[in-house]
Symmetry: C2
Subunit: 388 residues, 2 copies
Amino acid sequence: MMRKAAIVGVGLTKFGELWDLSFRKMMIEAGTRALEDAGIDGRQIDAMYVGNMSAGQFIEQEHVASLIVDHAGLTPIPCTRVEAACASGGVALRQAAIAVASGIHDIVVAAGIEKMTDILTGATTEALASASDREWEAYVGVTFPGLYALMARRHMYEFGTTEEQMAMVAVKNHRNACLNPYAQYHTEITVEEVMSSAPVAQPLKVLDCSPITDGAACVILAPADMAKQFTDTPVIIEGTGQASDTISLHDRPTLTGLRAAQEAARTAYKMARVEPEDIDLAEVHDCFTIAEIMAIEDLGFCKKGEGGKLTEQGETSIGGKIPINTGGGLKGKGHPVGATGIAQAVEIVLQLRGEAGKRQVNGAEVGLTHNVGGSGGTAVVHIFKRGD
Amino acid sequence: MMRKAAIVGVGLTKFGELWDLSFRKMMIEAGTRALEDAGIDGRQIDAMYVGNMSAGQFIEQEHVASLIVDHAGLTPIPCTRVEAACASGGVALRQAAIAVASGIHDIVVAAGIEKMTDILTGATTEALASASDREWEAYVGVTFPGLYALMARRHMYEFGTTEEQMAMVAVKNHRNACLNPYAQYHTEITVEEVMSSAPVAQPLKVLDCSPITDGAACVILAPADMAKQFTDTPVIIEGTGQASDTISLHDRPTLTGLRAAQEAARTAYKMARVEPEDIDLAEVHDCFTIAEIMAIEDLGFCKKGEGGKLTEQGETSIGGKIPINTGGGLKGKGHPVGATGIAQAVEIVLQLRGEAGKRQVNGAEVGLTHNVGGSGGTAVVHIFKRGD
């Protein structure tokens, strides 16, 4: 890549069931906060990218990039929606970074948004199932909890991972979410509560699953060499990797890791010239608790099969060897699918700036985000460093 | 932009009601033809972009980039879906060109696809309406023919444009489509037939409207300085412009032109260092006949208000001053919404190579594509030159 991008402003809505905020208003709220944070005027923005999975099915609205740039008052700049299921936000961030690198634009917004609660619950699950292979998976009745349950069973069988270890992921992420004012849940939970919660797709119980969430998130990118004009604490995007895998589970040689995530991580590490040991903290895609365990293995924070143990040892908690999902993760912060990849970047930026309040990781200088689409058909990994 | 891209391979499916081709098979067919045309192996491809408007609503499938890269056998390369309603294809082409410019990828596929006929007819119109503002337009009953009928009425009122002039657009585009083996319609029509066809939203009649179509299209990009490795006749993307406007008509100061198209054209002309007079032929977004008349005005091929007259004088026919929609346009070739922007580029490439058969424009060296999302909330313009 020819020109590095830096994040100079971030903004979020509260995540949750936002009955009083429409799709368009959510985006404006997150965007306004990002502009204020960057201390810039909307007229300085050259282009926007928006990650959104399925406004078409959730609120019968396509062409959301047009809707958003209009209601943000930013016409006639180009605004482009990208979609990669639950990785839509991460892909939007990547496209924004590529646009900056190309030289075609300087100041570029990367946003993510999903309005998921203005629909019947069954219809939400049905829309989410459209991230899997409609003909070979969803049509025969497999839902997303079902797909991840298959992965969990195999992980337990091959590596001895336990349901309690998975529960510990949820417990940690709820604990972190309590420290994040934007998180959907501000309630601590216990391993016993997770274990005795209602089964969804065994071995996954309801407290192993990320929730249905409304939310929007926004980051503002500038060329790294211009970033100091906007902020004393730019965060540089040092590496970006995106990769794909078969959309269906049945075509993969293994169920205990996501090849797309492994490949995206390899690309991002190489571009950033760092190793897993150099990462101070990571926001990973814990759509289900087993997904976080697989993620920390796929990212190289431990050996394949040891993610459950690493969690049990407390090494993924704040203060541990590699704090994971300090913002609360998808489980505790909430998972507005198109917004998640951007919200992950917001958390890393706050941490690298030293602005993460009670959940601050001391001395954090290098952070990573890991965003997965569907059951791993798409994965995006970004690596960030605090600018000097 | 730092590095120019060239198109080195093109491929299309037949456009029409493709009962025997599923979504995934359409994409493979178009992609395989593009690979054969470029004479390259799929393993040389570094990344893909796919334009698709609404597989979510049409076939209940999101995450289509994952589906496509999987079924093309090209995992683990990154594949990204972009959506901008009927401009999805044009936006995909632009993102592919930006990716090449950034240096992150060399060989990049830009594809477009839509499967529109596997659904009840009313549901298709309803899904298409989600390209307009759901809350301020679609919810109160306005459909796309209704929005363009408003524009047509105002154009007639301000400039004296006639229904017969609009009909002549359809007649010309059907005539061109008869010369294009990939077109949906191979039937010539007359002005009288258009005038006496069933009203859809007055003054627009059914033969003023582009059809519902299945189809896929694909182009392969390489850095311009590598293009000669693949073909003796590369086509260089000299300019790209994308712009936005309010999504709703009621917020615009005028209904007789699309500001997004004017702005996108200005950007593309400037980047390519050409003027409207330098363009030898153009593929424009004739979703309705009035849209072609507005397009040729917005692109500067005639003064505002004179598009109807230019059409009546035959100057937009093959052999005229500025041949428009030699491939048959959306009206005659068909309009699989996400594929249209790419299919326009395919036609320009064939023309600039001198491979357009009976519809060849003699001596064509510079071509333009004009792709519109919704009622003009998004527009994308590309300018192409025959490489030396």
